[in-house]
Symmetry: C2
Subunit: 399 residues, 2 copies
Amino acid sequence: MTKNEIKGVAGFSFAACAAGIKKSGKLDLALIVSETPARCAGVYTTNKVVAAPVVLTSPRTRKGQCQAILVNSGNANACTGEQGMKDALRCGALAAESLGIDEELVAVSSTGVIGAPLPMDCFEKNVAPLVNELAENRIDIVAEAIRTTDSFTKVSAAGGEAGGKPYTILGVAKGAGMIHPNMATMLGFVMTDAELDPAFIDAALRGAADRSFNSITVDRDTSTNDMVLLLANGKAGNPAIVAGSREAELFCERLDAVLLDLAKMIVRDGEGATKLVRIHVCGARDDAEAKQAACSVATSSLVKTAFFGEDANWGRIIAAVGYSGSEVDPNRIEIRFGDVPVVRNGVTTGGELEAKATEVLKTPEFTVTVDLNLGGGKADYYTSDLTYEYVKINADYRT
Amino acid sequence: MTKNEIKGVAGFSFAACAAGIKKSGKLDLALIVSETPARCAGVYTTNKVVAAPVVLTSPRTRKGQCQAILVNSGNANACTGEQGMKDALRCGALAAESLGIDEELVAVSSTGVIGAPLPMDCFEKNVAPLVNELAENRIDIVAEAIRTTDSFTKVSAAGGEAGGKPYTILGVAKGAGMIHPNMATMLGFVMTDAELDPAFIDAALRGAADRSFNSITVDRDTSTNDMVLLLANGKAGNPAIVAGSREAELFCERLDAVLLDLAKMIVRDGEGATKLVRIHVCGARDDAEAKQAACSVATSSLVKTAFFGEDANWGRIIAAVGYSGSEVDPNRIEIRFGDVPVVRNGVTTGGELEAKATEVLKTPEFTVTVDLNLGGGKADYYTSDLTYEYVKINADYRT
């Protein structure tokens, strides 16, 4: 089975329905349930304005156990005050009652419009029936139900083996904002049947999120609702994977791959985006400075519109590197579009190579390499182009 | 004479021509000359990639004297290596020779495409003739010649009196980028006939630039070529204005007014912009946190597209405040569009007021107030909306 054919993972079941939260009548409420309480880890928005479901779920998952995730789209339950907290609690209680499990084992998650109260009748009527529809191999229906402006669903999976037992990692995500600068919510739920040591699961998720979702967005730009959860129910029957082991390393590689795959889908689905561009900065004094410079290029509106215009405008890239705050010697900078060098020692390599670079820009996915030639630091950042369509989607979002 | 009718200032003369640097054949080379060496101060880009004219001019103006400014549009002479420095030097020498003054008294300034060598024949042929065309009251022709993507010219002036002697402050600027995040060059040249004390002129310019140009852009986003110069030739005959005096205070007020006026014109002329929005943050713990929060709101692409869509989407504003890094208590935030409160204590004031707020958004200029209710810190930031036209201008810039 290829990773695209994996639709389930042992011991997890899925359901979704159109609860009426979205005016469009599309799927908007989903449930993910593990047969038994799963070990869990979560990473959450660092925004100081935090939506009720994050306030509720974050301390629950910090206890390390989770059995069910109730997630809705169409309404973020953010900036909704005390009522929002009551509503989030009630959502969790509805799922817990219907499943016959402890409330503390339920994670709730919301995405959609900010500032409107959650339409609780939609939950009151639909959570219990949802439980009867739980089925294996239906990650697709969850992926569908968590969409807001996403133009396609996002699922990725990987398989591995630990202690002779095969396991699966299955991830689903939503997000289609310009990602940065951005408040469009990013949600990610990752399920595995591998048994993970409690001291390992948290670091594994944090590391993978850093190299994926946090390389398309940064802390200061997280929305009020961002949440990534990893649930591990141990159904694979392997001895718990412990930090520092070779098996932990392999698990992390696979988790990284699943999350990076989802993260790239989010960029590719950037609102109005027509291109996926990897900004690869190398030769920085250290990795942190490389990431800072890559971020600066990846988030420049002028660079992003030039990508849309298929214009090898390296001047905008060099300027973005210059104001990134990272150490730069302008006379050492090299820039390549794909394999085509357009800047060497800070100056153009000439019109012929620039014309070749324009050909690279015409492709839907390419890498821009910025070599600072100062040290060994490197980092990747993924970005999209800035298009008419982006403006249209975001100007019309609530109308 | 109203400030819009002031086209000159005692002891300064102006000239411009179409030197062929711009392919369009429009005005692209200008000269500003003071009869006698003027006292001067300059503020420059903080970008680490600095264009040759900035490298040349910055140390010259630091000596405190300047008599002429040679400025071209169409080519930024940035990322042009050693040749770029030679060319900038030659430009200054041409002006100095033609005027019969010391090279060190000439400031050179460029704006336009990055990475292409300066077409020196355009300068060789046109600088000397330009000297013969110098005339008073022709700030308009300079304003015209420094335009790149500017859709209108930018001139502002104010008058004052010191020691019984009337003086004039006359400013001209160019800039029409989205300003932030941005590498579009901002140039500003301010001339006054007031006599200013050498210990005062620098602080006066720095303060005024902070409250104007630096409240539409921030350090990290300066282009390779940004430059603001203040020249004071003392023709008004007043005793030198010294720091700390009442006359210094009044001079600063007027200088602020001229620079803020020019800065607002730049925002109003934001590429593709249809609205000028003042983001007023108050109630922050201090002014620096207020500015940080205002900047975060003013630069959010989602907020800016909502302005374009005339959507009172306060959720995006509250989220931008939340990720700004400034201290925020979500339950205390108040937001007003014009005079219409849409958020109180972090939650909506209801649909009726939101509808009223939408009316405010339909006007071309309005203020959004964010009151954090934490302290006495306040700051203003000016921004524009993000439109289809912005994408079009920047995608097609070089084609």
